[in-house]
């Protein structure tokens, strides 16, 4: 998964639904751990600004 940092509000909604703790919410940015990600796409569904995209 890839987060568009200029769109992201760093609200952490994505992290609350991530089943594998692949998302870390820092003060000013969201950090994805793509080694942990299982591509369930839940984060993508709940992001209020649709700032998360699946990497091609």
């Amino acid at each position: 998964m890839q987060v568009n940092q200029s769109l992201c509000d760093v609200c952490g909604t994505c992290a609350s639904v991530c089943p594998v703790s692949a998302i870390r919410v820092k003060e000013f940015e969201i950090v994805f751990d793509n080694d942990k990600c299982i591509h369930c796409r839940k984060c993508l569904r709940v992001c209020p600004l649709e700032a998360i995209q699946e990497e091609k």
Binding site: C11, G12, T13, S16, V17, P19, S21, E27, R45, P48
Partner: protein, 402 residues
């Protein structure tokens, strides 16, 4: 270590919102030493909240101060998908807060009793001893790593909470158990400052609702929560909010915008050895209204008191700390589980059904009309809801509050 921070505290609280601050206050008042680690530069910012609370809910925790009150709320109006609405004035006095000031006041109160806060302190994981028992927290502060030892770790780290996961508590939310939200704080509008408005409907806000909480007669928090499983590409909360704004407040000036997630699950199992969760992290939120400030404060008190008791007994096992969860269940937990059991009936209700409920509710005197009357009307429309409600009435006395 950092100059004013010790190597050990009885309790380390991760998160400085209302849940963390109230937990801290009751823990220190009962004799514990407490450190609060706040990730951001100051508590209360950014405000990810519609800021509505009841007077009765906050009054036990802090002296009411006009510094953090924007408006006094006397009633609510519920708007059905067909544009009809019903007003109610019998739910007690409420406030729309200035959360950035309110949150700071709660922290100041805790610190005046002896709690210590460190901001820009980002918790990274838990420390464990040779027997794998949790014995502290590792965090970063201004690009340096630190460790602090403690007996109890409190996860007050909000909807995105990681503390539970580090300790082995699964707090992952299902898509049906989160509302995805966007809110504008707008100026240059005309609103009735006494009334909070709620708009329902699958075209307005699928799986959730839209709110207008006035901050004065010319400004308001206008926000929306959409069910996590009700979004479609290009049709998230911002799409619905922007459409509503264009239709209803085309000349509004958006002076603040914020996003966030509201947990709407049935929070249970938020305690383990050496660790307790509180507030949004423990999913202590009314699953229908999404309200969580008062819940966090009530839970914070119970959690703080349990910290102090565990320290006196020297017992930090899950069994010992579970007293907190038991007391929460008695106070609000059972009520919230009922709310959870009818959440989907209510939030995903057919538009026609909602229209006829509001039509029927209009015949009730607004001064006598409460959430309870609304549910009574909903029951007539929905036999499944009736069955669930009847079952829950057997186990608890239900109190409805926005």
């Amino acid at each position: 270590m950092i100059k004013h921070i010790a190597d050990y505290y009885d309790v380390v609280i991760i998160g400085g919102g209302p849940a963390g601050a109230v937990t801290a206050r009751y823990a220190v008042e009962n004799g514990a030493s407490v450190l609060i680690l706040e990730r951001d530069r100051e508590p209360g910012i950014p405000v990810r909240c519609a800021e509505g609370v009841s007077h009765a809910g906050i009054e036990p925790f802090i002296d009411i101060d006009e510094k953090w009150i924007c408006t006094q709320i006397k009633g609510a109006s519920l708007h059905s998908p067909d544009g009809n609405f019903v007003e109610m004035y019998n739910n007690g006095l409420g406030y729309v807060l200035e959360r950035r000031v309110f949150d700071r006041a709660l922290v100041d109160l805790a610190c005046s009793k002896g709690a210590v806060m460190l901001t820009k302190a980002d918790a990274l994981d838990l420390l464990r001893d040779k027997d794998q028992q949790i014995e502290g927290v590792r965090f970063s502060h201004l690009n340096q790593l630190y460790s602090v030892k403690c007996k109890i770790v409190i996860g007050a780290d909000g909807v995105e909470s990681q503390v539970g996961k580090w300790a082995g508590i699964n707090t992952t939310l299902a898509l049906d158990d989160i509302d995805t939200c966007v809110q504008y704080t707008v100026n240059n509008i005309k609103v009735n400052p006494d009334l909070c408005r709620f708009y329902f409907g699958n075209e307005v806000s699928p799986g959730g609702y839209l709110w207008i909480f006035p901050k004065s007669d010319t400004s308001a928090n206008i926000g929306i929560g959409v069910g996590g499983s009700d979004t479609l590409p290009g049709k998230g909360p911002k799409f619905y909010l922007d459409r509503f704004m264009a239709q209803n407040f085309p000349n509004a000036s958006v002076n603040y915008m914020v996003c966030g997630g509201v947990p709407t699950s049935n929070g249970t199992g938020f305690v383990t050895d050496h660790v307790m969760l509180v507030g949004d992290a423990a999913r202590q939120v009314n699953p229908i209204t999404g309200g969580g400030i008062v819940q966090a404060m009530i839970a914070g008190r119970l959690c703080g008191e349990t910290c102090a008791k565990a320290l006196k007994n020297g017992d930090f096992s899950k069994k010992s700390l579970n007293e907190y969860e038991k007391r929460w269940d008695k106070t609000l937990g059972v009520n919230q589980r009922f709310m959870y059991s009818v959440k989907n009936n209510f939030m995903k209700m057919d538009d026609n059904k909602f229209n006829s409920i509001v039509r029927a509710a209009k015949s009730v005197d607004p001064d006598k009309f409460t959430m309870y009357s609304l549910f009574k009307e909903a029951l007539k429309e929905d036999p499944i809801l009736l069955a669930k409600m009847a079952t829950s009435f057997l186990v608890s006395r239900i109190k409805f509050d926005w």
